[in-house]
Amino acid sequence: MHRLPPVSSMPYRRILTGVSMALAFLLPASLHAADAREIARTVCAACHGVDGNSTEPANPKLAGMDQEYLMRQLKAFAEGKRRDDTMSAIIASLDSGDFAKLATYYGSQKPTPGTVRDPQLAAKGRALFEDGNTDSGVPACAGCHQSDGKGNARFPRLAGQHQAYVLKQLADYKSGRRATDPLMTTVGKRLSTDEARALAEYIAGL
């Protein structure tokens, strides 16, 4: 076996410098993540779960959602454009400087699938999701939220979301209580109650 050069020699120094530089880059990011997880655990988890997969149907799953979308919603709650008795109270306790890392944290969690309870209803929902309703002018949801319901940077993920939460949002768009997107206000107004139920059932299974 070859004798190793002494620690003070150039190759080691180069390696050590390289490692410490890499650590310098890595550290802030991992601190951020730990920080976000800590906020999530102490502030958000009771409703949304530590991993963003809420088990309470009224509370949205956040896991896997686009980070820009999550940021927009946090801001909307902070500015009062979106209201919810619990969330509006909690948002006031958060530092808006933490919104971005929370959005990053929850957006990068792995979403769990939802549960379809009524496959026939889901089949009706699928037709509406894929084709819309040409009589009432409801566009196909897939046009914006994509066929797999996973959304993109402009339009949020719907796939696997709780039925109760989706229904509440559609009702809130319809009533104007949620006014974060004029197009969804239009969609909420054009959907019948039965159509909304069918869509929520289909979305849960995506």
Binding site: K81, G132, T134, P139, A140, G143, C144, P182, L183, T186
Partner: protein, 221 residues
């Protein structure tokens, strides 16, 4: 917030209709600020593809529309024709309540309009459009050659420089619906010469010429 928007919109609509009622109708395709602005912007195809996502829930992927005529095919249409139609819809010159929320100022910027138009013009036009029953094509051809061809072209390719739309590749049911609306004076941004040309058409004439158009070859622009 919403009710303030709604009130503003209603007042604007009311003001607009009062103004229109008190003055003679503006000439077809008269310039107005927003249309002129949108026509002057260079459209970007890639940005247009992204902006078109809010349209494709109805007009479908690739802007192929629907054979039942509920939503027209937009693929391959002349960009300036598309700009005019989008601007006309959101300014109320073309009444389309289904589309209005998806074309209004909250949904689309002027640049979006230019981008979407550029994207749509670039799209291919497959020969998959809905066609009519094919039972009266001789009459359809005769009417087309007499009344339509001079503006819309022998192959239904339209005339971009004059804002005359391409009509080849369009769904029969949509041609029939819009043709009937124009004939009856219910599409307010129609060219007056077209209203005159088809004003005396029977329902059978309108159907026959729509059927003929729906069978024009789609290869040419």
């Amino acid at each position: 917030m919403l009710s303030r928007h709604l009130l503003g919109f209603l007042l604007a609509a009311l003001g607009g209709s009062l103004a229109l009622a008190g003055t003679p109708p503006e000439p077809w395709n008269a310039p107005y600020a927003e249309k002129t602005a949108a026509l002057s912007l260079k459209g970007d195809i890639a940005r247009g593809a992204a902006a078109f996502e809010i349209c494709q829930g109805c007009h479908r992927a690739g802007a192929l529309g629907r054979a039942d005529g509920s939503y027209p095919r937009l693929a391959g249409q002349h960009a300036n024709v598309l700009v005019k139609q989008m601007a006309d819809v959101r300014s109320g010159r073309r009444s389309n309540l289904k589309m209005l929320p998806f074309a209004d100022h909250q949904a689309l910027s002027v640049q979006d309009i230019a981008d979407i138009a550029a994207y749509l013009q670039s799209l291919p036009v497959p020969p998959t459009q809905g066609q009519g029953p094919g039972t009266d094509l001789a009459r359809g051809r005769q009417l087309y050659e007499r009344d339509c061809q001079v503006c819309h072209g022998k192959q239904g390719e339209g005339k971009a420089d004059q804002f005359f739309p391409r009509i080849s590749g369009q769904h029969y049911a949509y041609l029939l619906r819009e043709g009937s609306l124009i004939r009856d004076g219910k599409r307010h941004n129609a060219h007056p010469d077209m209203v005159l040309a088809i004003g005396k058409y029977s329902d059978e004439d309108t159907a026959a010429v729509s059927d003929y158009i729906s069978r024009l070859p789609v290869g040419s622009r």
